[in-house]
């Protein structure tokens, strides 16, 4: 007979104000993360996710009809949330500079068009992005920790992170060790995130789960809590290198996790679906989900991002359609 824990989180319940009084968020989980066994008990004690129900809920939110003023609002908001991404072996400084210019002025024909949130590149190209973006407000995000597989020794991953930060990255997108996670070595995953967060210094940390490899929604919820307890600023679905990448139900489960985490600790964590979001219609479905699952506090590029490359041009095309009433062809938008 297991002894009920004094920590309310161990019983899968949000703690009362009394439980939290005077407890700094970072130390709340010290007994949970004291051992592999305790961490496992906690993560496996979280309420389960029913696959059919979660998918039905996501599909239901997908039927919201967003028209006219609401659509115009959503398109502009979505543009400000795009992490404009290029993660190819063939990337060059020329490519990255062009992308950075695009992020600052997505639609050269319309100065009222807002800028994207960030440019997301490999660490060795951070300096090129930084040089163009300067203090424009558009951030530089770098994927690090031996992205996308994460299969390297910890010191190498940390060096990767420090290199990117030193080159001027504002945000680090790390990958978790899915091998360790799937074999149940949660504490190792946790400690690695903590170490990367330290190496980030003042840069913000996004923790990529590669949900296409974790596969079950229960795993996604556990990974979410693991990353939040370890101090990640954002939780992110995918690298974009594995299919399926971001999906609405996976994002739903992650949004529920950040909502519950704020209820429990008062700390807000951001969410970034990445990979496979290509159309305005898709982006709006995600924003509806944010609006109805976690509420308007998260409708902000500080708390929600899209990791995407082709999405931006579709948003721009729809934006032009909303303002002019006409569709213009793809040739009227820049390919960078």
């Amino acid at each position: 007979m297991p002894v009920p824990s004094s920590n309310p989180m161990l019983r899968g319940m949000p703690p009362t104000a009394e439980d939290l009084a005077g407890t700094p968020a970072a130390h709340q989980f010290s007994d949970v993360t004291a051992s592999d066994a305790a961490l496992r008990r906690f993560l496996h004690g979280l309420p389960g996710v029913d696959q059919v129900g979660a998918e039905a809920r996501a599909a239901g939110l997908g039927t919201r009809s967003i028209k006219t003023t609401a659509k115009a609002f959503a398109i502009d908001l979505a543009i400000t949330m795009v992490d404009l991404t290029t993660l190819e072996g063939m990337d060059t400084s020329g490519k990255v500079r062009a992308l950075a210019a695009k992020a600052m002025r997505p639609d050269p024909a319309d100065p009222s068009c807002p800028a994207a949130a960030a440019v997301c590149v490999y660490p060795d190209l951070v300096a090129d992005a930084r040089a163009v973006l300067g203090d424009s407000g558009v951030r530089v995000a770098a994927v690090a920790t031996s992205f996308p597989s994460g299969r390297a020794a910890l010191p190498i991953k940390l060096a990767d992170v420090r290199d990117a930060v030193a080159a001027g990255a504002d945000e680090i997108d790390m990958v978790i060790d899915r091998g360790a996670f799937l074999s149940g070595r949660y504490l190792q995953v946790f400690e690695e995130i903590v170490a990367v967060r330290e190496a980030c210094d003042s840069a913000h940390l996004k923790v990529i789960f590669e949900t296409g490899e974790l596969q079950t929604y229960d795993n996604v919820r556990r990974a979410s809590w693991l990353a939040m307890m370890a101090g990640g600023h954002f939780i992110k679905t995918s690298t974009g290198k594995v299919q399926p990448a971001a999906t609405l139900p996976v994002t739903l489960v992650m949004l529920e996790a950040v909502r519950d985490f704020r209820d429990a600790t008062g700390t807000m964590v951001g969410v970034k679906p990445a990979g496979g979001i290509r159309t305005t219609k898709d982006a709006i479905k995600y924003l509806v989900m944010v609006n109805e699952i976690v509420g308007p506090d998260w409708l902000d590029p500080d708390w929600f991002r899209f990791g995407a490359s082709t999405l931006l041009n579709d948003l721009l095309m729809q934006r032009t359609k909303m303002t002019t009433g006409r569709y213009s062809g793809p040739d009227y938008f820049t390919l960078d």
Binding site: M13, V49, G53, S65, K67, L77, D300
Partner: protein, 477 residues
């Protein structure tokens, strides 16, 4: 803070052509009624939609005679394969005219277009497709192949077209002809269905639709030449019908009220359970006989679950039924609204705690906010009587045995829900629940292949699936 306001997204009314007045559909044609015509209103605006004929006793007589003639001369002599062709044709026309049917259903009933579009109309078509498939395979049903004759069918206002499909599709597949009376507040989709029968070239008299209120229904079910009575509606009227037909040779199926328990165990997938609770009681404004109107939650997770449920209820969008983003539409009639209000007042007076999210109700029309009561016990009237509205009673339990005991402690027995991540617990509890339908980790799911019906005061007989054929074939209940 950013506010994401959804702009109005109304479905166009232009697709439906509502006539100023409607007659009865008898022997393949629309005819005048001899009773006192009545008006049907849009419950969201109180706008009068149309004047509808009332079928007098004489009209009912004519309709039953037309059904009898069609049964004897045409329909019972037709091969199953031929009957199937008509049913398939009707099913396809329902699909083709689905937007028209959905808009009309929402206007006449008050339910959100999202539900009429995604649930009522496609499911109605699915029942016709399903029973069309049975028409030439009855010898494999296990219930024989001999039809009963003329079926008198009386349906409620909560799912007007879907209940029509549940009644007409199996009756016709088995070779019976029907006289159907839609509810007086929601006759319009049944009358549009009459047009669909004409469009499908269904032989005259196979389907007859008589409109009217209680008197018309009474004349219909009591008619001497009727072989079968099928009724969906209140337990009170169901009992009256049972008394009317007692001592006759008429076969009867009754699908009556319910007070379903939705049981949430402490290991349930909580976020999905919240969705299931919401879907269980706020779907169709709670105008659902199998609604999960009693939430039984394990005491150890009650606070957490209620906090999640209240937060979810605060995001429900109440308003214009034709707006595609509306979750909760209008209450079907003033009479029903008064009943819901009265029972909620009793709930408060008996000491239960009432809660509803902040919610602007439109000034015209019949509206009631999604509401829950906590601190409810088995002794409260809101825990025992069917409210038939968006009102949830929350009770707690400590052990599985107590959950089963409370769930079964009702004169009804139509449906129940069980939420747990543990399969063995679900199976054990489901086997102990006295309810015709038990949903596990879901709620309010309907499928033509699955039988539906109740225990005790929830009625008798089954509709849907293979079992649903028995009600329309000779020699079986």
């Amino acid at each position: 803070m950013t506010v994401f306001e959804y702009a109005p997204a109304p479905e166009s009314r232009a697709i439906v052509d509502i006539r100023a007045s409607y007659g009865l559909f008898v022997d393949g044609a629309f005819v005048e009624g001899r009773g006192t015509a009545f008006k049907t209103v849009n419950p969201a605006t109180e706008e009068v939609l149309a004047e509808v004929a009332e079928a007098s006793d004489a009209d009912v007589n004519t309709a039953v005679a037309a059904a009898r003639k069609a049964y004897e001369k045409v329909w019972s002599r037709m091969s199953g394969a031929e009957r199937a062709k008509y049913l398939y044709r009707i099913a396809r026309i329902i699909q083709e005219r689905s937007r028209e049917l959905a808009v009309l259903e929402s206007i006449d009933n008050g339910k959100p277009i999202k539900e009429s579009r995604d649930v009522d109309v496609p499911t109605a078509a699915a029942y016709f497709f399903y029973y069309a498939g049975w028409a030439d395979k009855l010898e494999h049903s296990g219930y024989g192949t001999t039809p009963l004759g003329v079926a008198a069918q009386v349906i409620p206002w909560n799912f007007p077209l879907l209940m029509l499909a549940w009644k007409i599709a199996p009756a016709l597949a088995c070779g019976n002809t029907v006289v159907l009376k839609p509810a007086e507040t929601t006759p319009l989709t049944a009358l549009l269905f009459a047009e669909i029968c004409q469009q499908a070239d269904l032989p005259p008299g196979v389907v007859n639709i008589v409109t009217g209120a209680g008197a018309t229904g009474h004349a219909l079910v009591g008619h001497a030449s009727v072989d079968k009575v099928a009724f969906t509606g209140s337990t009170e009227v169901g009992k009256a019908i049972a008394r009317t037909v007692a001592g006759t040779t008429k076969k009867v199926t009754l699908e009556l009220g319910g007070k379903a328990a939705n049981i949430v165990f402490d290991d349930a997938p909580l976020d999905q359970a919240v969705e299931g609770i919401v879907n269980g009681i706020f779907f169709n404004q709670g105008h659902v006989c199998c609604a999960g109107s009693r939430l039984l939650v394990q005491e150890s997770i009650a606070d957490d679950l209620l906090a999640r449920l209240k937060r979810r209820m605060s995001t429900l969008r109440l308003g214009d039924p034709l707006d595609k983003n509306t979750d909760i539409g209008a209450i079907n009639s003033r009479e029903q609204l008064e009943r819901i209000r009265a029972l909620c007042d009793i709930g408060e007076a008996e000491g239960a705690e009432r809660w509803a999210p902040a919610c602007d109700l439109p000034s015209a029309g019949f509206w009631f906010p999604p509401t829950l009561f906590t601190g409810v016990t088995q002794a409260h009237r809101i825990a025992r009587e069917e409210v038939f509205g968006p009102v949830l009673s929350v009770l707690t339990f400590r052990t599985p045995a107590e959950a089963v005991e409370k769930a079964n402690n009702t004169p009804y027995g139509l449906s129940a829900g069980v939420w747990s991540d543990k399969g063995s617990l679900i199976l054990k509890v489901a086997a102990q629940l006295r309810a015709g339908v038990v949903w596990a980790n879901t709620f309010n799911k309907f499928d033509p292949t699955s039988p539906f019906g109740g225990y005790q005061e929830s009625g008798y007989g089954r509709e849907g699936g293979r079992h649903g054929l028995a009600a329309y074939l000779k020699g079986h209940q």
